[in-house]
Every structure is written in structure tokens, then in C-alpha cells.
């Protein structure tokens, strides 16, 4: 029931916000804040309450109700450690997103917070849905409000960006839906029970060729969302044009749904095809790491720059997922969390700078350390996080991923490690161009306001905490990850036996 509450609190908050917005411009933000905080508290109690039993079984909570029985569709939500982490992230970033839009959004606030909360609800649903139809439903739920968010409250080129975002995700989402239907019918034909339930479909035996095509359907949707190298081009536009909170949620949450989908659906549903595709996928990941980093270096628009660093970091994620061992997968989970924090913080910073200087062009910045030492320090921390400085969360993530990948494919690690160098190049460029060097503008720029300081302090503390004490996160995700690895091993031996029999 709590899981349903998590979603309904957001959806209800959204509706109330849009109604209250008719009345007073300032009500919606308070309502949104309250809704997100309630959600965050719920997740925290959930986490605290199940903290001890985490190690025992993978699934912590389960809610199931018939939805459209004639098609075998159930309203099935469940949470394991992985989902729990991402849910916590969702609500944490949700609170921050509300806080950072506090003064930025002045027009149509009701509808704005409606969209914001609706996206969060969609994301939360995606992280919990255990019915493929329901999953697809939430997948689309988060898409449309995001389209509005970019298209209405974005900056100059917002319509183009919104369309691009919509078309990329929608088209790839349709492919996924086709794959879901394919899976549904294959399962139905084989067993006689037509169902969209995740736990039933996991056991579907699919011939390899079909599995490959179905997996491609899923993979393309997730790869676009993640984004994986050739599908990344919507990201810089969408990130660049979205309002600050939109960028934060895009980078922090929407990208994570892609990785979550791969971990939750692609790998367990199509183990053999995944194994077959592991090396090409990892290569794509590495290409993304390097390409994203080089692209990030060349950008002059701060938000686009940060967007490309996301491409680079998400390259690590897909590389890690397809390494298919515990080290790499734990690294992936860490990367999801820490990337959300570090990149989110960089986007927030870009938004704050834009509020002050009215530009995103880093060529017009420079020497901002002296008027804004606090922002400088925080910016430095997150630039360092994004280049993987030990002691900050991203290092743990990237180290584990690379260590895991090294066990699987040593050469890929060598190539990916070059990403460490490139990430240093672009991160230092960010710091150098914005904070160091001579001042370019003589406007007075105020340092952090208390609200901004609160946001940034929360993020900084989190990222340092994750860098030094990542064990709670690792332990929480552990049952899910070990289960996944065990599953793959079982599949491995099974398929091995099969081939031996043949």
C-alpha cells in the first residue's frame, strides 16, 4: 500500500497544485515541496524499516491488484534494494528540483509544478512497476509532462528541443512496446496464460533469434534514454534548453530509468542474447565515454557541456551493465546515484550562473571565484566528482565499474580508462573557464543565497558521504545484484549444458 501511496501522493499533489495555482501563484510550490518531502520521508521509513531484512530476500515490498484482467494486466508494484535506492534518489532530487525552481518559475506555476510532480510520479512508477504494461504506462507518463516542461518553460530553442526529446523517446518507446507485446504473445502461446507480469515473463523460453530482436526493442528504448552513443543527440538539446529543474530531473532521473530498465528487464529477460551482445554493447559504452568527453570539451554552452559529460558517464554505466559481474553492477548502481548528484549539481550551478549572468556561454564567464567563492568551491567539488576524484562518490562508482569490466574484458577497461584522462580535461575546463582567469563581466554577482546554499550543501554532503561511506548503498543494492549475477550464472551453466547435449 505504501508503494501506491508514493505515487498517489505525487499525483494528488500535482492536481492540488494546478488547482491552487489558479488561486495564488505561490501555493503550488509549497504543495509540491510538501508532496516531495512526504514521499521522501515515506521512502526513508521504508528503507529504515526494512534495513535489516535487506540481506534476506531480494523483494522488500509488493503490491498487486488486478487492473485489466482480460489482457492479463495487473497493477503490480514491488520494490527491491535497487528500486529503493532509485526511489530515494527520485524523491531527494524531487525536493531539490522544487527548491531550485522556487524563484526561477514565475509563469503558470500551477501547471509547472503539476508537470514536475507528474514526471516524478512517472519515474517512481517506472522504478516500481513489475508488470510490463504498467511499466510502459509509467514510461509514457513521465514523457509527456517532460515535453511540456521543456517546451513551455525552456529557453530560446525550447520547441525544437522538446520535439526532439519527444520524438526520440516516443519512437524508441514504441519499439519497446512492440517488444513487450512480442514477449506477451510468445509467453501466451507457449504457456497458455497471457500475462504482462514480470515474474511470469522472466521464465519465458525464447528462441535466440527472436530473443535478439525483442531485446533490441527494449535496448533501443533504454539506450535512447540512457543515452548510449549514437542515440545521444537529443540529450544536449533537451538538457540545454530545459529549465534548471528539468535538466536536473532529466540528468538525475530520466537517464537512470534507462539503466534501470536494462538491469531490471533486458538482462533477466534475455540472458543469452545479452551475453551475446555484451562485447558490442561495452564497446559502444566505451565509445560513448570517449566521445562524450571529447564533445564536452568542445562545447561553449555550459549546459550542453554538462550534458555531454552525462553521455560520457552513462557510457560507463552501459559498459558496467554488460560486464555482468557483481563488481561492475554495484559500480553501475553507485554510478547511477552519484552521477545524479554530481551532474545534477552542475546543472543547478549552470542555472544559478544563468540567473546571475543571463548567459550559458562559458566564454563570457571567467574569474567568478572572487565574487562567488562559495559557488567556486562547490563547483570545484562537483567538477572533481565528475572527473572521478577519490573521496567523492563518482570515484567509487567508476572504480568498481572499471574493476568489474577488467575482469570481463581487460582491453575495454584500458580504453575506458582513457575516459579518466578526458574527464579531467573537460572538468578542469569547466572550472578554468568559469571560475578562474580574469573577470569578463563587471556585473555584481551575489554568492549563494541561503536557499541555494541549502541545495548545494545537501548535494555536496551526499556526494562526499557516498565517496567515503558508500557501503550502505552497496549493501542495499546487494541482494538485487547478487540475484542478477546468480541468475546469469545459472543461465550460463544451463546454456552450457544445453550446448553440451547438442
Amino acid at each position: 500500500m505504501m508503494l501506491v501511496l508514493l505515487i498517489t501522493v505525487l499525483m494528488a499533489g500535482a492536481v492540488v497544485a494546478v488547482l491552487a495555482g489558479e488561486w495564488n501563484r505561490n501555493f503550488p510550490r509549497w504543495i509540491a515541496l510538501v508532496a516531495c518531502v512526504i514521499g521522501l520521508l515515506l521512502v526513508i521509513t521504508l528503507w529504515a524499516g526494512t534495513g535489516h531484512s535487506v540481506a534476506d530476500s531480494q523483494w522488500l515490498m509488493d503490491y498487486r491488484k488486478e487492473w485489466i484482467p482480460s489482457f492479463g494486466i495487473t497493477f503490480h508494484l514491488a520494490v527491491d534494494g535497487l528500486s529503493l535506492l532509485l526511489l530515494a534518489l527520485t524523491f531527494f532530487l524531487g525536493v531539490l528540483a522544487v527548491l531550485c525552481s522556487w524563484d526561477e518559475i514565475r509563469e503558470r506555476t500551477g501547471f509547472y509544478y503539476f508537470n514536475l510532480l507528474w514526471i516524478l510520479a512517472g519515474v517512481a512508477g517506472v522504478f516500481m512497476a513489475m508488470d510490463l504494461f504498467l511499466f510502459y504506462f509509467f514510461w509514457e507518463v513521465m514523457l509527456i509532462p517532460m515535453y511540456f516542461l521543456i517546451g513551455i518553460w525552456g529557453s530560446e530553442n525550447r520547441v525544437y528541443a522538446a520535439y526532439k526529446f519527444f520524438i526520440f523517446t516516443q519512437a524508441s518507446g514504441l519499439l519497446m512496446f512492440l517488444a513487450i507485446l512480442g514477449l506477451y504473445f510468445i509467453h501466451g502461446r507457449d504457456t497458455g496464460t497471457y500475462t504482462f507480469g514480470y515474474f511470469e515473463l522472466v521464465n519465458t523460453v525464447i528462441p535466440f533469434k527472436t530473443a535478439f530482436w525483442l531485446m533490441s526493442g527494449f535496448m533501443i528504448a533504454f539506450a535512447v534514454k540512457l543515452p548510449v552513443f549514437p542515440f545521444h543527440t537529443w540529450l544536449p538539446d533537451a538538457h540545454g534548453e530545459a529549465p534548471t529543474a528539468g535538466s536536473l530531473i532529466l540528468a538525475g532521473l530520466l537517464l537512470k530509468t534507462g539503466a534501470y530498465g536494462m538491469l531490471r528487464f533486458v538482462v533477466p529477460l534475455f540472458p543469452e542474447a545479452v551475453k551475446e551482445m555484451a562485447v558490442p554493447a561495452m564497446v559502444l559504452g566505451v565509445v560513448g565515454v570517449i566521445y562524450g568527453a571529447v564533445m564536452a570539451y568542445s562545447q561553449t554552452d555550459l549546459k550542453r557541456l554538462v550534458a555531454f559529460t552525462s553521455v560520457s558517464h552513462m557510457g560507463f554505466v552501459i559498459t558496467g551493465i554488460f560486464a555482468l559481474n557483481e563488481l561492475a553492477l554495484q559500480g553501475v548502481v553507485m554510478q547511477l546515484v552519484t552521477h545524479a548528484l554530481s551532474t545534477g549539481a552542475l546543472f543547478l550551478m549552470a542555472g544559478m550562473i544563468k540567473e546571475r549572468l543571463h548567459t550559458r556561454d562559458i566564454e563570457q564567464m571567467g574569474g567568478l571565484w572572487s565574487p562567488m567563492p562559495r559557488m567556486g568551491s562547490v563547483g570545484l567539488v562537483f567538477a572533481m566528482a565528475s572527473l572521478g576524484l577519490p573521496g567523492l562518490g563518482n570515484f567509487v562508482a567508476e572504480f568498481l565499474i572499471l574493476l568489474g569490466v577488467f575482469q570481463a574484458q581487460a582491453w575495454i577497461t584500458v580504453a575506458a580508462a582513457s575516459g579518466l584522462i578526458f574527464s579531467a580535461v573537460y572538468s578542469l575546463r569547466i572550472v578554468g573557464k568559469i571560475f578562474l582567469g580574469p573577470r569578463k563581466t563587471m556585473e555584481t554577482v551575489p554568492d549563494f543565497s541561503p536557499r541555494e546554499m541549502l541545495i548545494m550543501a545537501a548535494l555536496t554532503v551526499s556526494v562526499v558521504w557516498l565517496g567515503l561511506f558508500p557501503q550502505p548503498v552497496i549493501d542495499t543494492a546487494k541482494p538485487a545484484i547478487t540475484e542478477l549475477v546468480r541468475f546469469m550464472d545459472v543461465q550460463n551453466t544451463a546454456s552450457h549444458d544445453q550446448s553440451y547435449v547438442k
Binding site: M295, S298, L327, L400, L402, L420, L436, P470
Partner: protein
């Protein structure tokens, strides 16, 4: 009394200082900033003395103080703990870091007095000391990597301390990026170590190295070389040496602490720490020795040509670290660490003294514009002289002689040594003496060219004097075998570092010492002859086109910068520039463009002419019927 539970205080004190200064430093008075900044390091040094004293006094063989603070992270069979461990090797490093660090901090309280960002300076310095201490106290390679990257960050922050000048920022970026290349290789090295040893704990690796790896196998060589790459980056050895001279853009105390005494020797520490792996691979050791020898020669020749006093010192640092690598390569582990310690004393001294001079001369770096400071700044002169004789390794009376002589001797006689390495090292000694003399003469003798501002105060001179004393006398704790055979330092290190294996049938040590002394004195004479007695000869040398070209080549640091710029930086920037708008996006804009074109094409058929539509119908019918006929 077992003092290991206080071990954590050594790095924690600087870290505490960093936090105080970083969070509230802006609002603190200068006195308080100085007190916290320098005080934390002094306290840390004090704790080091206490803990180290306890460690030494109660030391049974092979004792190691370890203290596990918490588990960093644990995944599957991989486990990394935040564990500090103090053994004799790390004790030497901790001693140097905290002791010299404390002196430099005291010096800085006066040196940086006028600076706007007093608190930021000390915060960064404290963070640096913390990271460096973590680096040397780490019991596993991952924690060491944390310190390793931490010092890189602080080096970046401090090189770019005066950030408003773009060149400083660029130098900082270059330093970080170049060392990062080594670090990336080192990270891969860590992965290899973990894959083969299943652990990153140094002592476990050391204990099982011979079980894990076949001697001289390809894997152990590759592992060693990858780790070495990290060391090369940090220690500014060939081919990653280009960042260090530019790093002189930072304040002089920074150069003294980070880019002379401590951080740049992290590579030496790493190789010494992982000597078990290096011992298993002859190839790797040969590579270390060759890189060391090549670097010392190259950097020495470059130092001969520089006019910026700090750049001379920077190249001499590279060169001296080259000696350390040479020693490590031939298997003379203790000699390398000994030279590290002595070098830390005299090079910190030289940098601090140079800083004092530069400060007094209104930020004049050019030695040719100095001169005649002998009488005007006596304290600085005498202390600088002490450092210089140590650097030049003047026989018997300087600490540098004892440490460098050992390396020269081992470079022939040790197991991995060879006459060629020795010859290179000897040539290096000659060059060192020459450029040291040149620097001394240009700075302190001759006519004064620049007006002197204020003279350094007590807080600056006292550290200079202390370091000068150490630069002269610290060498006596380790005397050559042939006179005295007083080997306190190497005995001290033997629990961790093995004795140097020697070749058989080698010539007498006396001969080597004589030759080394002659080289030094010859170098001094050369410098004296050309720069003091016959300065006109320099001008005549300038006429020679070949020499001028050679001079330019050496002056540019053997054109490495230009080479890397051509080969790496420019192609990278070029690719980044031309692809700014993302070529893959063309794929998608291409699709949408094609759709648009097709739309235009089709909308042209929507002409509004009824007859045209009917023609379309007819053609369609023709096609359909045609298809039916075909089938």
C-alpha cells in the same frame, strides 16, 4: 607503549585544519588563519615525533603500526578499508612531510601575508599535507590512490592559486592533466594487481608476490610498468615531465613543498612501496633505471639554460628525482629513499630561499636581473649556499654528497647497475654542479640589477636556517662503506626494503668517490670559469650557430612541449572543434531533413488542379493493373 591508536591524528589534524579554513576561513583574522593553518601541521609533526618515537623505541623486528578506521567499501571479494599503516618507509616519508611541511607552513605565514586569499592558501596547503600523509600511510593501494589523486588536486589548486592570470590556470590544468595520464595507467595497474593478487593490501601483495607472479613473466612486467606510469606522471619523469617547470607558477612555498620535497617524490615512494613487484621483473627495473638516467641528464642539461631561477630549480628537481629512479632501477632501494630525504631538505630550502629572493626583488624571476645579493641578503645567501653545495654534492661537507655518491656507486656496482648508467649519472653530477654554480654566481655575485625591497623576516629565515642545517648535516647518518661504514639509515629501512644486491668483482669504491668528487669540482669550476672569471666567453659561445640551436633546444625542455602540442593537444582540440555540433546529430537531422524534403515533394503534387489529381488516379490504376499483370 603502543601508540598506534593515535596514528589517525597525523592526517586528521591537517584535515581538520582544512575544514576549519575552508568553511569559516573567510571570516577569520589573519592571525587565526595562520595559527590554524600552520598550527595543524606543527601539531601533526609533533604527533609524528611522538608516535614515531614510540614506534622506534618499542620496535621489535618488522613491526607495523596499523589502524583500521572504517571499511570504505566491500563488494563481493573486493574489499577496501580505510586503514593506516606505519612502517619504517612510511615513517621516513611522514617525517619529511610533516617536518618540512611545518617549516614551510611557518615560512608561508609570512610569505603569503599580503595575499587576499590567505585562508584559501592555507586550506589548500593543509589539504595537501593531509592527502600526502594518506598517500604514504595507506595500507592498501586504493587508499593510496585516494591520496595520490588528492595531492594532484591540491597541486592543481595551488599552481593555479593566483587564478586571475590565465597562464597560471593553464599551468595548473597542464599539471593535472599530464599527471592524470599516469594516474589512468596506474589505475589499470591496480586492476591488474587485483585481478592477479585478489587484494590491494600492500603487505599481502608483498608477502605473496613471489607466489602470485612468475619472476620476469609478462604479466608482472606489465603490472610493474603500469604502476610505474603513475609514478612517472607524479614524479615528472620522462616522458611526462613537462608539467613540472610550468608548475612553478604557484607561490614559492608551494613549489618547495609540493613540487620539490614531497608530492613529486610520490613516484619514488610508490616504486619503493611496490618493490616486491619490481623485484620480480628485471625488465621493469631496467626501464626504471633507464628512465631515471635519461631524465636526469635531460633535465640537467635543460637546467643549464634556464634564466628563471625557479625553473632552474624545477629542472634540477626533475633531474634529482631521476637519480632516485636510477637508484630504484638498479635495486638500491634505500639509497633512493635516502636521496629523497636529503633532496627534500635542500630542495625545499632552495625553493624557500629563492622565494625570499623573488619576494624581495618585487617578483623578479630572472637570474640575470639579480646579482650582488651576497652582502645584501646574508642570511638568504648562506642558507642558499648550504642548499647549493648539497645539490651540487660538494664532497664530504654536504649531505647531498653522501646520498648522491651512494647512487653513483650503486649505479655501477649494484645488481642492476652498469657502467653506462654510472657514466650518465656521473655526467649528471658534473652538470648539476655546473648549473648550481651558475645559479649561485648569477644570483649572489656580480652587480646588483634590481632594487631590493624589504628583507625577509624571522618567520621566513628561521625555517631557512633549520633546513640549511639539515642540508649540511643530515648526510652523516649514512656514511659510505669505505669510511666509517656507518649505515644508520639503510639499517633503519631494512625491515621494509631489502638490502641492495651487489655485483661481484667491482672496482674499489674509493675510485668512484674520487671520480664523483672530481666531477663535482669540475662542474663547479666550469660554472665559475664561464660565469665569474670569463663571462665574455659566454658571449663568444653565442656566436656559434650550432650551440645556439642546441641552447634553444635545451631551453625549451628538449622541445617536449612542442612535440606534445603537435601530436596530442592540437589534434584533440582540432577534433573537438570541428565536431562541436556533433556529427552523429547529422544522422538524425538528416532523417528529419529528408522527411521535410519528401514532404515538400509530396505537397507539390497537392497542386489544387483537379485534372492533375485525376491523372494521379489513372497512373495509380495503371500501376495496380500493371502489377496484377506482372504477377
Amino acid at each position: 607503549m603502543l601508540m598506534d591508536k593515535y596514528l589517525w591524528l597525523i592526517p586528521a589534524l591537517p584535515l581538520g585544519g582544512f575544514f576549519i579554513l575552508a568553511l569559516i576561513g573567510k571570516n577569520m583574522s589573519r592571525t587565526w588563519v595562520a595559527t590554524v593553518g600552520a598550527g595543524s601541521i606543527c601539531l601533526s609533526a609533533l604527533v609524528t615525533f611522538v608516535v614515531g618515537g614510540a614506534f622506534l623505541s618499542g620496535m621489535p623486528e618488522n613491526t607495523v603500526y596499523t589502524q583500521t578506521l572504517w571499511t570504505w567499501f566491500e563488494v563481493g571479494e573486493f574489499s577496501a578499508k580505510i586503514t593506516l599503516s606505519l612502517d619504517v618507509l612510511s615513517l621516513v616519508f611522514v617525517f619529511v612531510i610533516t617536518f618540512i611541511g611545518a617549516l614551510i607552513h611557518i615560512y608561508s605565514t609570512a610569505f603569503m601575508e599580503a595575499d587576499r586569499d590567505y585562508a584559501r592558501f592555507f586550506a589548500s596547503m593543509n589539504l595537501f599535507v593531509f592527502s600526502m600523509l594518506v598517500l604514504v600511510l595507506a595500507d592498501n593501494l586504493l587508499l593510496m590512490y585516494l591520496g595520490w589523486e588528492g595531492v594532484g588536486l591540491c597541486s592543481y589548486l595551488l599552481i593555479g592559486f593566483w587564478y586571475e592570470q590565465p597562464t597560471n590556470g593553464n599551468a595548473a590544468r597542464k599539471a593535472f592533466t599530464v599527471t592524470r595520464i599516469g594516474d589512468a595507467a596506474m589505475a589499470i595497474g591496480l586492476f591488474m594487481v587485483f585481478q592477479q593478487a585478489g587484494t590491494l593490501v600492500v603487505s599481502d601483495i608483498g608477502a605473496n608476490a613471489s607466489v602470485i607472479w612468475q619472476p620476469n613473466s609478462a604479466t608482472v612486467t606489465i603490472t610493474a610498468l603500469l604502476l610505474l606510469a603513475g609514478g612517472l606522471g607524479k614524479s615528472a619523469q620522462l616522458p611526462l615531465q613537462t608539467w613540472l617547470p610550468d608548475a612553478m607558477a604557484g607561490p614559492s612555498p608551494v613549489s618547495a613543498l609540493i613540487h620539490a620535497a614531497t608530492m613529486v617524490t610520490a613516484g619514488v615512494y610508490l616504486v619503493a612501496r611496490m618493490h616486491t613487484i619490481f623485484a620480480l621483473s628485471e625488465t621493469a627495473r631496467l626501464v626504471v633505471a633507464i628512465i631515471g638516467a635519461a631524465t636526469l641528464l635531460l633535465a640537467g642539461l635543460t637546467a643549464l639554460t634556464q634564466y628563471d631561477i625557479k625553473r632552474v630549480l624545477a629542472y634540477s628537481t626533475i633531474s634529482q628525482i631521476g637519480y632516485m629512479f636510477l637508484a630504484l632501477g638498479v635495486g638500491a632501494w634505500t639509497a633512493a629513499v635516502f636521496h629523497f630525504m636529503i633532496h627534500a631538505f635542500f630542495k625545499a630550502l632552495l625553493f624557500l630561499a629563492a622565494g625570499a629572493i623573488i619576494e624581495s626583488l618585487h617578483h623578479e624571476h630572472n637570474m640575470f636581473k639579480m646579482g650582488g645579493l651576497k652582502d645584501k641578503m646574508p642570511v638568504v645567501f648562506w642558507t642558499f649556499l648550504a642548499g647549493a653545495i648539497s645539490l651540487a654534492a660538494v664532497p664530504l661537507i654536504s649531505a647531498g654528497f653522501y646520498s648522491k655518491d651512494q647512487i653513483l656507486w650503486y649505479s655501477w656496482s649494484a645488481d642492476g647497475g652498469s657502467p653506462v648508467l654510472w657514466a650518465v649519472a656521473l655526467a649528471g653530477a658534473l652538470i648539476t654542479a655546473t648549473y648550481t654554480t651558475r645559479m649561485m654566481i648569477l644570483t649572489f655575485w656580480g652587480e646588483s640589477h634590481t632594487h631590493i625591497g624589504h628583507l625577509p623576516g624571522k618567520r621566513m629565515t628561521v625555517p631557512l636556517v633549520v633546513l640549511a642545517v639539515f642540508s649540511v648535516f643530515a648526510g652523516f647518518i649514512e656514511l659510505p662503506h669505505n669510511f666509517g661504514h656507518f649505515t644508520l639509515f639503510s639499517d633503519f629501512l631494512h625491515p621494509v626494503l631489502p638490502e641492495t644486491a651487489m655485483q661481484e668483482n667491482i672496482p674499489s669504491e674509493w675510485l668512484f668517490q674520487l671520480l664523483a668528487a672530481l666531477a663535482t669540482l669540475g662542474g663547479i669550476f666550469l660554472g665559475y670559469y664561464y660565469y665569474y672569471q670569463q663571462p665574455a666567453r659566454i658571449a663568444s659561445l653565442r656566436q656559434n650557430g650550432l650551440l645556439v640551436r642546441l641552447y634553444r633546444f635545451w631551453f625549451s625542455g628538449w622541445a617536449f612541449d612542442a612535440l606534445y602540442d603537435r601530436m596530442l593537444v592540437r589534434p584533440f582540440v582540432f577534433i573537438a572543434r570541428i565536431n562541436k555540433s556533433d556529427i552523429t546529430d547529422k544522422l538524425y537531422t538528416g532523417i528529419s531533413g529528408m522527411t521535410g524534403e519528401m514532404y515538400k515533394l509530396l505537397s507539390r503534387t497537392q497542386s489544387g488542379s483537379l485534372r492533375w489529381y485525376i491523372m494521379g488516379l489513372v497512373v495509380g490504376a495503371i500501376l495496380i493493373l500493371g502489377i496484377q499483370i506482372m504477377l
